[in-house]
Subunit: 702 residues, 2 copies
């Protein structure tokens, strides 16, 4: 596998290459904010800047407090504006006006979250799901016929996959598409209430078409889930959606916890006929006589190939999660640096919130997590682009991409929710006011944890992949071949592959981890500890689940279920490692010595925080002694204190301006208020007019 | 200290007293839902039932999707209805139409959350803060003059304590009330922008008066924070609030993350004059000539006494947090028992969500936490009633009450947020729809974590109290007196006191904890482990902070700050122990053998979950060996599996009906849908009409 992220840094510089020798001395280390901001923009810097321009434009900003109806109308209109002004169609074929630029498209798209998550997701429904399904599941002819309407939003479309009774279990959806060879048509049908399509953006009100997923049945054989292009509503003369077409019905999902700019809804189909040509036919065709053919022989692989082509949703949610976390941290850190509360070291001067150790402990590790998530997302986007541009489109790299997306999206979306909530609480009552945005962003973001693949289900997929790789690796090699096997794997394979390269190493030298742990601060020790955890957990699981192959279905399922929690924990550990490796690799590309020094501390804080969260595991499994384990926490305390002066620079470098953050308390208003208050008391003390405190008098009288 | 919770159980029964001998055998154990429901209603059973009647009445239910203006108007109107129909004035003096029933009042009040958190909090502002401040800080004359308007809502009032620049640090508020002896008036003044009162319910729109907290200055001396009754708006002929009176100004806080039925706002005072008689004068009076007198000599103690009288807010939030958690669990468990997803053990039958180990792991420990919180809240309410009814009104019991409230409110409110979110995610996309209520409740509940005392600040107070008690205990006793000291403390003191009784024991026998840990499942072992953790953490902190007394202010503050995180962790550990002890004590009152057996497992799950969360601490500090630590997780797994069949009964026993839960997915609708789907497939299989799967054909061909 080639390394796909050797991208040019956006600021070429004569500074020495990063590395221990190039680190600034501890006292001098400072973040070069302009440099780091630019550096973080990354490979698709220009497209991100265009998207941020859009995201900061008041015409695209969420208007808080709008009714659902107002908000829906506004967001639909914004979609049309995006077609004119933003570069939202880059993923589509050049001959249809796109740029065939998968990665750049996502890079821009995820930035839209800063304007309004409803806008991001409505755009995602229209182009990333409805349009992308036509693109990836349709034939070139179908592209020519169906994509223009999807691209221009002349045809707002729903992505009708999920059913009320089947969320993440797409293979079991109950909607049927039965081929009628007499008529040359498919009959789309909803057999019972649980098979209604549900939670579909554009289905509640605006959609005139849908890509409907259904079991394709022809000649009495069910060929599994396929996608069909179905008109669901009339288009009125003014272009708006009219009534449902005959046979189609539905309901509006109504108010939601957030994202109320999107008209989610339910759809059902009562023997709705669609022409044979409207089966999106890239991976499965039905001839006029009803004969089914597919370029992919195995129904299982065909299903996963079709679903896999939709991985971009998860990729973009991972990026959007990063944007949400960054905005939350920019708000809370700014406020924490300005707001004062309680006197401490001084009689007269109150302490700024971020000087409190607990405030630091709550927020600064989240900055480290945001950076880890950022760099991991860069790698994910690189891999996505490599696959979808065709540069590296192999079944293996597609599978790696799906696993990486499934490993990162759950962690980053949960992290964003935690970060938004911690930031909101760190801002106290002010954090609860909508004018400070955190509650609004959190409400909109909430569902990111369960849509486009429920987080828990995705982590299970990752866990299963880890197990499968484990079994495959060890099946393929014998004792003698092991050394060769280790050497053959490229060092950074871990970024896309399960980290089993290290498992073999551990087997060879079980003592190494314990020895290396002496230098917890060091990169090597962190890598050993994080890697060892994934390997050991997967190995333990494999051992525990080995008997399953000899059990009957019921007992095997029970055994698997008994280890479900560990499977998910192993997937989390893998995700942690992925992010740590991406962060570490990214350090090598940072050219400014002060910046790389501070970011190295941030990386260490990330690594040690992950280790601290799992400290019991390291202790129980003999990877750390009690004494060493204690030092994890004290190192973290030291790193947090060391990073505290850099917290503002680190969040400023995220590059979001007031037009993106849009929080009244993050505008400097608090600093003005605090300065006014301190000046008042300073003058009062200077004038001698200050009232004496009863306390002081009583003390003097004693 | 006497035990205040030896209340009669509401169902007297001839069943044998609870205890190991009365436990039902494991296989037979079942929750008697009717019995447990009734038992959980507790001491103020009738009042809770009245309040639940109100909370389930559609006239009081939140209408989702209302505009802020509509919601505010509705909730104000509901307050007036409550005066007529509910027993919301019980805390007030009998001569004014109240019942002088502090505990019963709170018991009913906290149930209002089920109707609408805005209603609970608006009622809390009017009667629990504005009215209660007049009651607790005013004199009998002032009660006669000012309470009737507050009680009847003829005068909607704000509780003007918090300032934009001072949240939890009330002692430092900057608003002044300077006595003008010429005029016999106080001049209330806001010296700068940061001193505006902020986040005040009723201040945005409806309030015509406020209890304003300000620094009382007379004769050039600042006597500290006192409360003043101030008219802020005109009352129009129809009783509604008109314009601000001269000198008073303000702003509406506008939209919030939730609780939009409450008109929060900001107030400022520009040399506003109030008569001398409107200083709420219970704890401080100013004579016509400006002489200040107070029944409490120490300004510090006076301040804490005044603030302490307002503890009921925290008590009721702790109870309301329990209601929110219970509703969330009732929704998610019901749905988890009906919704099916993926086939596992069976080819044809899909598995219900709650049969998945990870789903159980996410939800069932939260049931245990809800029960622990419930029983701890019962004890808190007992203590609150004992203090406020005068049964046990000593400075020591008041301080115990404040510490207990400060220990429970943070944990229960964070727990409710976690439970609501976990429940929402456990219900997937359906959880995000407002029709299923979880997102709405969570949005409204969010601010509970930072109002009425920021959770982090409250836990710090608890930590400081633990340290102070520790120092006091050891100052008072010498080596010889130690045994006597241990004996003299009542065994259940731990419920109201810091658990330092055990610290001395540990010193005497440091080996006991380690030995007892052999039987982790046992009550004794759990108690030892939970108690030991608090003691050891407090002792370590005391040692670490000892040098502070010899340092200058700056260095002492820095030392304290360096240990702030541990202080807060110690407070959490104390809260965990409190809840475990309350749960354990409550088991003795449960008369049904099956119920007590199941609840004992629930208690064990609670205890072990707390231990598991802190497993690294137990390992590092040599309290558990690696081998023993492993068994914690396996015991939890076993308990979760054992409790899974009882999950529905346990949440049904919370006693909330569909009129309280108000979630479309918790009405049985999902069961109907699933039954219909299964019947469809059953008939299809029976008929032989089911299409053959391509997969099956391919397999057969091989």
């Amino acid at each position: 596998m080639t390394t796909v992220s050797d991208r040019p840094t956006s600021v070429p510089t004569a500074a020495p290459a990063a590395g221990v020798s190039a680190l600034a001395s501890e006292a001098d280390a400072e973040v070069d904010v302009a440099y780091l901001t630019d550096h973080l923009l990354g490979r698709w810097s220009e497209l991100r800047q265009v998207a941020r321009g859009i995201a900061g434009d008041p015409r695209f900003a969420k208007i808080e407090g709008q009714t659902m109806a107002e908000s829906r109308a506004r967001v639909l209109n914004q979609l049309k504006l995006l077609v004119e002004e933003a570069q939202v169609l880059r993923a589509f074929p050049e001959r249809l006006g796109g740029k065939n630029d998968a990665g750049g498209n996502i890079a821009g798209f995820e930035e839209l979250l800063a304007a309004d998550p409803s806008l991001q997701i409505k755009a995602g429904v229209q182009w990333g799901l409805f349009g992308a399904a036509i693109l990836h599941l349709g034939t070139p002819d179908q592209h020519d016929r169906l994509l223009p309407g999807a691209m221009s939003v002349a045809v707002p479309g729903a992505f009708a996959m999920t059913e009320t009774g089947h969320g993440s279990d797409v293979a079991s959806i109950a909607t049927t598409a039965t081929y009628d060879e007499q008529a040359g048509e498919f009959v789309i049908h909803t057999p019972f209430r649980a098979a209604w399509k549900d939670y579909l953006g554009n289905a509640g009100e605006h959609g005139t078409a849908a890509v409907v997923f259904a079991q394709l049945i022809t000649g009495g054989v069910n060929h599994g889930v396929h996608a069909f292009y179905v008109t669901i509503r009339e288009t009125l003369p003014d272009g708006a959606a009219g009534a449902f077409v005959p046979g189609v019905g539905g309901e509006d999902d109504g108010l939601k916890g957030g994202l109320n700019g999107i008209d989610n809804g339910r759809l059902y189909f009562d023997q709705v006929r669609v022409p044979r040509e409207d089966l999106l036919a890239r991976y499965g065709q039905v001839a006029a006589d009803g004969t089914y053919t597919s370029p992919i022989g195995s129904p299982g692989r065909r299903f996963f190939t079709m679903l896999g082509s939709l991985v971009q949703g998860r990729v973009s949610l991972d990026g959007a999660a990063g944007v949400a976390s960054k905005i939350a941290l920019a708000t809370a850190i700014r406020y924490g640096n300005e707001r004062r509360q309680f006197t401490g070291a001084s009689e007269t001067e109150e302490t700024v919130l971020l000087d409190y150790a607990e405030h630091q402990r709550r927020l600064i590790p989240l900055i480290a997590e945001a950076y880890a998530g950022h760099f991991a997302h860069d790698r994910l986007l690189d891999l996505f682009h490599a696959v979808f541009s065709g540069e590296m489109d192999t079944p293996e790299s597609r599978e790696d991409l799906e696993t990486m997306a499934a490993a990162l999206k759950p962690i980053s979306t949960w992290r964003a929710l935690e970060t938004l909530q911690t930031a909101r609480e760190a801002c106290g009552g002010a954090g609860f006011l909508t004018e400070n945005r955190l509650v609004s962003l959190r409400a909109d973001f909430d569902v990111y944890a369960t849509f486009e693949g429920d987080n828990t289900v995705l982590l299970q997929l990752v866990g299963k992949r880890l197990l499968a790789d484990y079994a495959a690796d060890f099946k393929a090699i014998d004792g003698i071949g092991m050394a060769r096997f280790v050497v053959e794997r490229a060092a950074d394979t871990v970024l896309y592959k399960t980290p089993l390269v290290r498992a073999t190493q551990t087997i060879v030298d079980t003592g190494s981890v314990r020895r290396a742990a002496g230098h917890l601060r060091g990169e090597t020790a962190q890598r050993e500890l994080l890697t060892d955890r994934v390997e050991a957990m997967v190995a333990d699981l494999a051992t525990a689940l080995r008997p399953a192959s000899k059990l009957d279905r019921g007992k095997a399922a029970a055994l698997f279920n008994a280890h479900q929690h560990e499977l998910i924990e192993a997937a989390r550990a893998h995700s942690d490692l992925l992010q740590w490796e991406a962060f570490t690799k990214a350090l090598a590309d940072v050219r400014d010595p002060g910046t790389v020094q501070v970011l190295t501390w941030v990386r260490d804080l990330y690594g040690l925080t992950v280790i601290e969260k799992n400290l019991a595991w390291y202790l129980i499994n003999g990877r750390l002694s009690g004494q060493r384990a204690r030092t994890v926490t004290s190192y973290i305390d030291r790193l947090v204190a060391r990073l505290r002066p850099h917290a503002q620079s680190l969040v400023d470098s995220f590059g979001y301006g007031p037009e993106h953050i849009r929080a009244a308390i993050a505008t400097g208003a608090e600093q003005v208020r605090q300065d006014e208050a301190r000046e008042y008391y300073r003058q009062q003390r200077a004038s001698g007019d200050a009232p004496t405190h009863e306390k002081t008098i009583k003390k003097a009288a004693r």
